[in-house]
Amino acid sequence: MSSEALLTWVDVCSLDELMVDRGVCVLAQGVQVAVFRVSPNDDLYAVSNFDPIGKAFVLSRGIVGSRGDIPKVASPLYKQNFDLRTGACLDDETISIPTYAVRVAEGLVQVGVSTEMTPK
């Protein structure tokens, strides 16, 4: 069974409304997802908005950039960096955050989340 079948696609906003190199937070099925539009290629990424180190929902408000070839976001709390593609914390290999599917459908940005939840 493809994982696609489990996904619910949630509308974020129109692509035009997404500021380049800045994030927004989407409430998707009760889950806070941080969505980023990243220069120079206009790549879209979606990761959890929860910073597991600072223990607060803030990652959408971090500064995006690169480390080597890795697109990343730095937590605004204590500045740990997370790989936007994999969710791996670049400053502590024991930590990683969830990532989500993201797509543009007819000019509308959407994130895909599962309806299955596990409590923390």
């Binding site: 889950v31 120079p40 607060a56 803030v58 990532t99």
Partner: protein, 861 residues
């Protein structure tokens, strides 16, 4: 506790004198464990223990007597040490091996060290002892000069040597019209030649000091009250003055030696051999009272060498004193002067290479032998190559084939740019004050994994006396770290090879207005949380308008992006500006009402304002709308920018107030509000010397005097408290503001990222003298530009919150969720002391908001 064999008898060493050299001896002995066998008794004639006489002049630029002290607190309480302060030895009984003190103490010795130093020579001209005549030797002397300068308008120094020019600088610092009278035809006749003396003279005259060379004083004239009123010369007209300082050389304090029959030199000085022993084998003499090989060494480094020799002798060693070269490098009134080795080319067959540039007032002379070996030299106006040349003279470094190239103007590199510290041998002396070689420093770096110059100073003491070798230590550190694979780079981050200062210049020169331009032309990758806010700050400092317009918005750290301070739970705090700490009852009520309506926690800050905590992103604009309506504006608590100018009530209310400190504080806060800088800026204005506003702990602080304002800069509270340094005194308000404008813009241009003014100052080569040259004397010719930059800031300032609320586009970002108006369920407050506090993570997950913290299953794309 160490237990010694009972049969061991303890011996007593008496040290006469607690100057720099006497103290160094005791320090060395303690370090080497001498107190296991010896009781060391020191007599200190002055009421202050050893202090830094070399740095004496800094006393007038705000360094306190405590800061000049060389004695660590509690040092003389170490077991085996004893000191008698304010008590001088008056007689030595060589037969009984004992000394007698002025206060009647008798102490028997097994060994005695005379370290009584020297006294200033005062030529026996008529009137030399009038009130208003001083010498320049002790802190007491300086205090007396300072008191006499109060109310005086002009002063002169007799003697244009090294110390005389120091004294002249002091008089100038005290605000007197300053004259230097020198008998010889040039300044610093012992160290520099005629051409060098001429350049030095021109440089010093440019600073407003009047120089009279080839003048012999015949009489000190007295006025009606019996005080000094002028100088009469054998040649020329009288010179009217109010204060006179004699600095015409030193004479050894050898009277104790004379009285007990030790051999003295013809013109004074206690004769010592290569072990620093006098004609009595149990008595040593060191420092400026000792005569070695017909010579008195009037510098601290040879004195320290002697102290180490005697320490070794006392411990049974065999080190001997072989004489020291009189190499000197110093900054006199901001002018570099160095003289080393055979500066006057007296060696037969020696030749000189001379470099002179009259446009920049630089003079350099290098003396070499026929084989091209460096023998000595003179540097005036630019002494950056001093260390390199001295190392070559000592044979620690090879001399290049064309030694003339060593005199070319200093390049952009470090002190050793032309040759590299790698070429130095391990035995090369780096810090001659404290006898620290390259080998010792490199070993300390490797063994202790040191990465900071300050760590090397703490570990080896190198660079802690005169500080002249600090650039060399910095180069050594870089070189050493490079070798071990640690790349020391001042590059901001992986995206730019520039330091913040370089990036600032790049952006300014190219007039870039966006990060993407800067990155495209000078960087790589897509940037990060270091270079983006740094660039945003530079763009803002250079007056690029609203900090959240165009691509600047994506560069800002969350605090600047939401114009509020993020707290640990992701909510923000809000601080309206309260200029000078002055606030109306209506504004207080408005703040209180806003806090009540939004359920915010309120707290008074250290900067005399009110912080409102616990606002969600979506609440920020609503809160600000209310505050702006009540007449308030952004306090920039979120920015690396001016925070507050704290004040006391000053002249208006206070019985002791000298000036209107509150009005000045408000004016300054409004002038510099919103000014983006490498780090936050704090300021304060105190209405009198009681200093209730704590101005001396601020980046720039102002203290009122009877005559105007004293400006202090580069102080800090926080993690490493540091007192601010006095930049200028008794300024009128207009001049004060001009100096602050220049100071702030110079800091903004040249500081590193996140470098507070105190750290910036500590790294500033040339220290306060250099800063004065730039900010007051405009030595770099920058002041017009700096003032224009500040004028532009003042003219274009706008409240960022007003600008944000006025624009619906800008308001869009203030939403918790882009797709929902739901309130962020992860923000939860609990009551505490009649207000709220954020719930802890555990409280939220386990009791208050478990649903908000459900972590979803990860589904890979």
């Amino acid at each position: 506790m160490t237990v010694f064999p009972e049969q061991m008898t303890r011996r007593t060493l008496v040290v006469v004198g607690n100057g720099m050299v006497g103290h160094k001896l005791v320090e060395t002995l303690l370090e080497r464990g001498a107190t296991a066998e010896w009781d060391i008794v020191t007599f200190c004639e002055e009421t202050r223990m050893a202090y830094d006489r070399v740095g004496l002049s800094s006393f007038f630029s705000g360094t306190s007597a405590e800061e000049l002290s060389l004695v660590e607190p509690g040092f003389y309480e170490n077991a085996g040490l004893q000191i008698h302060i304010g008590d001088a030895v008056v007689a030595i009984d060589r037969a009984k091996q004992s000394v007698q003190s002025a206060k009647g103490k008798t102490v028997a010795y097994d060994a005695l060290v005379i370290a009584t130093g020297s006294y200033p020579f005062v030529p026996p001209v008529v009137g030399h002892d009038l009130p208003g005549c001083f010498v320049y030797r002790t802190i007491d002397d300086l205090e007396a000069i300072r008191d006499a300068a109060d109310g005086a308008s002009s002063g002169a120094v007799i003697g244009g040597g090294l110390l005389g020019l120091e004294a002249a600088n002091a008089l100038k610092t005290l605000g007197l019209e300053t004259h230097v009278v020198e008998f010889a035809p040039r300044l610093m006749p012992v160290q520099v030649d005629d051409a060098g003396g001429a350049v030095l003279r021109r440089r010093i005259e440019e600073l407003g000091v009047r120089i009279h060379t080839g003048m012999q004083t015949s009489e000190v004239l007295s006025g009606s009250e019996g005080r000094v009123k002028g100088l009469r010369f054998v040649e020329g007209d009288d010179l009217p003055i109010d204060v006179l300082v004699f600095s015409a050389g030193i004479r050894p304090r050898d009277e104790l030696g004379l009285a007990c029959g030790l051999t003295l030199g013809e013109r004074g000085g206690i004769v010592v051999d290569e072990n620093c022993r006098t004609s009595d084998a149990s008595i040593f003499a060191i420092g400026e009272c000792a005569l070695f090989s017909g010579r008195i060494y009037g510098l601290v480094a040879p004195g320290y060498d002697m102290a180490r020799v005697v320490a070794d002798q006392i411990l049974g060693g065999s080190t001997s004193f072989i004489g020291s070269d009189m190499s000197t490098k110093l900054k006199l009134m901001g002018v570099d002067v160095a003289s080393f080795g055979d500066a006057f080319a007296t060696t037969p067959g020696s030749e000189s290479i001379v470099y002179a540039d009259s446009t920049t007032s630089v003079y350099k002379r290098l003396v070499i032998d026929t084989a091209g070996q460096v023998l000595g030299g003179i540097l005036v106006g630019d002494a950056t190559s001093y260390q390199t040349l001295v190392q070559m003279m000592r044979g620690d470094m090879p001399t290049p084939e064309e030694p003339g190239s060593l005199l070319a103007p200093a390049g952009a590199g470090g002190a050793m740019s032309s040759v590299g510290v790698g070429a130095l041998s391990d035995s090369a002396m780096i810090c001659s004050c404290n006898n620290v070689t390259k080998g010792v420093i490199c070993e300390a770096i490797t063994a202790g994994n040191l990465t900071e110059v300050s760590e090397i100073k703490a570990c080896t003491k190198a660079g802690t006396s005169c500080g002249g070798c600090v650039p060399l230590i910095t180069d050594l550190l870089k070189d050493e770290l490079r070798k071990t694979g640690v790349e020391i780079s001042n590059a901001l981050c992986e995206h730019f090879d520039y330091s913040r200062q370089e990036l600032f210049d790049v952006i300014r020169v190219h007039r870039y207005a966006s990060f993407s331009e800067v990155l495209a032309h000078h960087g790589r990758g897509t940037g990060c949380e270091i270079c983006k806010p740094a660039t945003a700050s530079i763009l803002a400092s250079l007056g690029n308008g609203y900090i959240l317009s165009a691509d600047q918005a994506s560069l800002q750290d969350t605090n600047d992006h939401f114009l509020a301070n993020m707290q640990k739970d992701g909510t923000y705090s809000v601080v309206p500006r309260v200029p000078g700490g002055e606030i109306t009852p209506d504004q207080l009520i408005a703040i209180g009402q806003v806090a009540k309506d939004f359920g915010l926690y309120t707290k008074i800050t250290g900067g005399q304002r009110i912080d409102l905590f616990g606002a969600r992103v979506d609440e920020l604009p609503h809160i600000w709308k209310r505050l702006i309506d009540a007449g308030m504006e952004s306090g920039h608590a979120y920015g690396k920018a001016l925070r507050t100018v704290k004040s006391c009530v000053g002249l208006t209310w206070c019985r002791y107030g000298q000036q209107d400190s509150t009005t000045l504080a408000i004016d300054l806060e409004l002038r510099y509000r919103g000014l983006r800088s490498p780090h936050k800026l704090k300021s304060a204005v105190s209405g009198c010397t009681r200093e209730c506003a704590e101005a001396q702990s601020k980046d720039f602080g102002i203290i009122a005097t009877e005559r105007g304002w004293n400006l202090y800069v580069c102080g800090n509270g926080g993690i490493k408290p540091q007192h601010a340094v006095l930049l200028a005194e008794d300024l009128d308000t207009e001049t004060l503001i001009r100096f602050i404008d220049r100071f702030l813009m110079f800091y903004i241009r040249t500081a590193d990222r996140l470098e507070r003014t105190a750290t910036w100052f500590n790294n500033l080569e040339g220290g306060i003298d250099y800063l004065r040259l730039v900010v007051i004397d405009d030595a770099l010719g920058l002041c017009d530009e700096l003032e224009a930059d500040m004028a532009n800031h003042v003219a274009t300032y706008e409240c960022e919150w007003k600008a944000t609320i006025a624009d619906p586009e800008r308001m869009k970002r203030f939403r918790s969720f882009v797709n929902s108006d739901e309130i962020d369920p992860s923000v939860v407050m609990v009551p505490e002391r009649d207000q709220v506090r954020p719930a802890t993570f555990d409280e939220k997950v386990n009791q208050l908001a478990p649903e908000a913290f459900g972590i979803p299953v990860v589904i890979k794309r």
